[in-house]
Symmetry: C2
Subunit: 310 residues, 2 copies
Amino acid sequence: MGRAFARLLGSQRKVFPFRIVAIQTLRHGAAIDPRGLPLEPPFGKRIDSIDEFLDRARPEVVIELTTLNPATGEPAISHIRAAFARGCHAITANKGPIAHAYAALAEEARRSGVEFRFESIVMDGAPVFNLVRNNLPGCKIRGFTGVVNSTTNVVIEAMRAGRTLAEGVEEARRIGVTEADASFDIDGWDAAAKTAALANVLMDARLTPLDVDRRGIARLTPEKLHALKRQEKTVRLVSRARTTPNGVKLRVRAEVISEHDILASTHHTSSLLLFDTDLMGTIGTVELNPGVEQTAYGVFSDLVDIAKSS
Amino acid sequence: MGRAFARLLGSQRKVFPFRIVAIQTLRHGAAIDPRGLPLEPPFGKRIDSIDEFLDRARPEVVIELTTLNPATGEPAISHIRAAFARGCHAITANKGPIAHAYAALAEEARRSGVEFRFESIVMDGAPVFNLVRNNLPGCKIRGFTGVVNSTTNVVIEAMRAGRTLAEGVEEARRIGVTEADASFDIDGWDAAAKTAALANVLMDARLTPLDVDRRGIARLTPEKLHALKRQEKTVRLVSRARTTPNGVKLRVRAEVISEHDILASTHHTSSLLLFDTDLMGTIGTVELNPGVEQTAYGVFSDLVDIAKSS
């Protein structure tokens, strides 16, 4: 994803002349040059302390692309705090910090007078958070319904075609949408993290993935899906949020739905999110078969937004 | 729609304190008070000249809500020009001006240093133009595919359930989505106007509804739809735009599609628009069963956008 983002910055540099001053990866180590790095920079030793890395790099915007620890949101949360502490804007493509600590981080960004963005964490670069922020003035999000996990789509469609769950997971892994530990997708943790993140930002929910009423697709079988097919039905891992007198309730479930339900139109790696609003009825965003370039675009659109507003 | 918009302004006035200084309608005549009108204003005689009306009203923003003359885009185009000539921003809920004269009007707005907005003309208040403007920096729209006419959805679903085209039109009229002359919807002119408007704004197409390769649903029969149903297929009036070496090509056709195609998920008055972009792949906006309040919201979101940017 980092490489896709660097390529995108390169292709857009005439109109959006951003400069990469430092990169650090687990595998390659660190490269720092305040005058701007080339597309294939020379990497040196990794810098273990995020504070030291940022102090030497002196960026205006920190882009956090570490992989997710679903239980804690770390190390991303610490990286983002280190950015805020130095007056840097922060962008993350990692849903952990938003699912675990959004209210605190948003408050810290406000106090530091910097921006905090994370468009790519739910539907890659398809506008979700920016849609609500930029295009729905005065609108309150009362709830949402969505299909936001690619792996389960691919696995369900494989099982519906007669293959096993394990074969479906293999296919999802081949496409590159599944992490090493597929149970994170299958058991609904990825969808729960996205659901909590959406609710925290759009509905001020202050919940974590652990607060989501969650049931994944592990008990589904090809036989069950075949029987549903004869009734023109299928299954999707559906995320739901709604406002109740007792606060925001979140749910992620393998739901039986009609083949003609718009939720069922999320084939392959496509995703769909419908917002229930007070003034604009039900509107939504859909994304068809995204790849890593689209996640990179989400980070890029955050970066452009920050550059425009600062 | 004007009444729905006035109600919306009233309900939002604490956060967005806009003032209505003048209203003119064919039926009620004119009401003008630069200090601001009440929700049920006293109407006097209609003012025949738009110039005189605007000179007396002295608004900052002109909101054009006349009904569409699909062949010319008038009188809306003249109203908008009268606004620009006085240094007023203009918002229209009328697709005619955008389908017939977008490039010229946009240029006139630029020269007058004013904003020109029209979010509600394609999908009511669901973000379409503002989505591309605000949320897709650097993205080029290479084409689009959509189902943007409610009447034909309602008629097709009625015929699929065994009723006649005329009965379907009656149902659409009862819901309130069909104009006096239903052939405007059935023959694809409404969809063609929306398609030309989208292409003019998003792809700099400089085309009119007459340039759209257009074929409506008039030849469809309940029998045909019933036969398609047995093959798990249905029909939608689909708008398509694509970039070719010879310029932008536009098409509106009754297309046979799979029941499982996302385009087929547009039931009742719902609509869907998918953008083919260079950087963000295929993303789209969907709107489920909107009413007149949602069209009013589209105008409201334009108004807030203008207030923020000026």
